[in-house]
Subunit: 484 residues, 2 copies
Amino acid sequence: MNANLIRHAVHLAAILGLYLSGAMLIPAFVDLYYGHPDWQVFAVTAFMTGAISSTTFMATRSGPPPFSKKFGFLVVNVLWLVFSIVGAIPLWLSSVNLDFAQAFFESVSAVTTTGSTVIVGLDDAPPGLLLWRSLLSWLGGIGIVVLGLFIIPYLRVGGMSFFKMESSDTGDKPFARLASFGRAFLVIYVSITLLCAISYGVLGMSRFDAVNHAMTTVATGGFSTHDASFGYFASIPLFWASTFFMALCSLPFSILIVLFVRGRLDALRDPQIIVFLGYLTAFSVAVATYHRLANGVEFHLALTHAFFNVTSLLSTTGYASEDYSLWGPFVVMVAFICTFIGGCSGSTAGGMKAYRFVVLFNAIRSALNKLVYPNAIYAVRYGKNTVDADVQRAILLFFITYILLWVFGSLVMGALGYDFITAVSSVITCLSNVGPGLGSLVGPAGNFATFEDAELYLLSLLMLLGRLEVLTVLVVLTPVFWRQ
Amino acid sequence: MNANLIRHAVHLAAILGLYLSGAMLIPAFVDLYYGHPDWQVFAVTAFMTGAISSTTFMATRSGPPPFSKKFGFLVVNVLWLVFSIVGAIPLWLSSVNLDFAQAFFESVSAVTTTGSTVIVGLDDAPPGLLLWRSLLSWLGGIGIVVLGLFIIPYLRVGGMSFFKMESSDTGDKPFARLASFGRAFLVIYVSITLLCAISYGVLGMSRFDAVNHAMTTVATGGFSTHDASFGYFASIPLFWASTFFMALCSLPFSILIVLFVRGRLDALRDPQIIVFLGYLTAFSVAVATYHRLANGVEFHLALTHAFFNVTSLLSTTGYASEDYSLWGPFVVMVAFICTFIGGCSGSTAGGMKAYRFVVLFNAIRSALNKLVYPNAIYAVRYGKNTVDADVQRAILLFFITYILLWVFGSLVMGALGYDFITAVSSVITCLSNVGPGLGSLVGPAGNFATFEDAELYLLSLLMLLGRLEVLTVLVVLTPVFWRQ
Ligand SMILES: [K+]
Ligand SMILES: [K+]
């Protein structure tokens, strides 16, 4: 039984491999265009990946896959693992000197849209390699939205069942509607990316930089083509353009579809959108005010940098306009807290996510009321809907499991000799798929180049755990899952 | 209606005031015995407190109190506030130079059995003042156990309803049984204190030090009579004696009663005791091993100091044998994590508490199993009992509310200019009623003397929140509570 499930999962992974081998031709052509010898690495890897994938595809062909929740969990994990490994191969073989653990970390960081890097000297890195990182991020972003809109809700992970398409959305032909919904998403995702690239180009980026940054902005990935990250451009209009697109891509794509396809502006009155934009504004204004008062920065500059960096952290993009950890202890604390929170579900953003906070605060309020008036009925609401007890519990458990993973990860990093702030911030920045942490090593001015192989594998696992809503990965690691 | 509730609550507070005015005579006599002029402060304060309390007692006398959950919450808050304020008065008026905010902080720290201090120069402080701090801690310990065994479970706060006496325990005369249970507790509490004081005396402490440290050990308070804390004594037998008594008083007193009164050793096979002793041993051995390897300390010394300091943190006592934050990053991380965890419910220990972790881990396991096999039934168990959905939710909400308070507190401390590690550790050490934090300011070698008044009030509020299981205080701060 398990063998059959694995066979089918590998079959689907082979299809993914075929797509990826095709995608590798893009950086191959780019390196060829710019005259960089690394085009051969991409061409050879594309050929190898294509050959292995098609052989595997043939070898594992059989009847229709056995749909079950168990199969769903298995497929999600296998696909993301294969995605990461295949993505790592050209990075490993390229002229930039990475060992496999580093290439794997970089690839996981890309496909999970984390954006932490082990590469120093991005400004002089081969263009094909830079594009491959951005492309992996961009494709990872698609994978995450598809997962968040179509798969995780049906697997009932972390209270996401709440966002299952309602019958009114899917009509009487659910699969046909899902397919048209999927097409609409792709059109919007590509359109926003183009719009973002054009904006960046018009506002002064080179064509190559504009395309790369547009891809990692829309995916809220945060990879840059410069060691100084987005701060390299030092342009206020560019900062605001990026802030807009980072925030936009932290909103649920299901709502963006309703907004752009049906033109319904009222779709934005979603509880998690209101809460997300609310805390984004609150943190940004607080940081700007503090930056103005503590460091005497002009208010319009303080506001620009505050909105840019806070949006970058909350959208889990991870760009930095400058080293905000030097602005003062309050900003360090805000950055640390923002690294946990994240954006909306059904977007490319990571973190704990806004809708869970909506449910959490309503649950706390209901519990306090119930303590005083035990016989009164206080429903926990999400907008107009009542959140049932099972979903509430799933959401509460998600929060705690998330925190526990952070605690265990930090403990291990502490045992490996990292100081307190590096340990706690490197673990949460990976788990939340943000990118930068705090401290001299992994802060906005640092990177992960000095980490040992074992540490990189641990952090890679954390990125995958966070990206797949934690429980999707944990469940596959339980013995019960593999019982016949 | 509310006015009537407040009147009855104040009446009970007046009774507490009378007891406290009596207790003040003890440090008065001690100062008189040691020939310290502060005896007058205690004598005058005792007289004033007695006079005000008896007047208030008379003025608020009326029919029997209106038993309701609302009244219960109000009484608990009023009693602890009055306890803190009355305890602060002699500290404020004494020859040690404290302003009221400092005296209030010191008193809250005592009655909540936290043990953080703003006094520098304990070795030369007046004996009456030292004894008053220890006595407040010791009385606070009684208050906490009574609260945890008899009141909080009935108020259904944070999943504690689980520990309501079962009908088999209380028989058909619940109040009579509760009274005899209460007497048994007092006898055991006093006996353990005496035993602890005698052990300390036999092992080399002066009589005064032995009495003071016994009181703050049994209350898991952690106030010392020396700036160097327990490390002043530098005696391995004393460290182990203290480790034993700290761990003992972190166990549920309901179980200690069954153990000592009925002689039933099997009572120790309680899930939360097993889990508490389990993580205590695991952390201690890990720290000892690390200390041995990283700092080359002889293993038996490493083991002694590891067990002493880890037990001190987990029991939320807060003694330090030396500055363990210098042992290395792993120990800093362990100390930080231990500050959250705490001991068993129904003991004098604070923190999140072991039984909640028992339920949490079973809830996570059940949730993971349910993800794969949605139709199977996986009950969440605590020992032989099934934990119902409401209690599970209360426990999960407790964890998250606790974390949120820590986050908000840290944010405020960051805004007030404290560095990351001082901010996050001072807030959690107050919330968990542990005592020492991390960093040069509030670490095991530091104290809270340099904090501003507003900061001391904030930290005092956190200590009270933590001590009263968070929701007991929060509920009184909601508008719904005061609605007629
Ligand atoms: K990111
Ligand atoms: K304590």
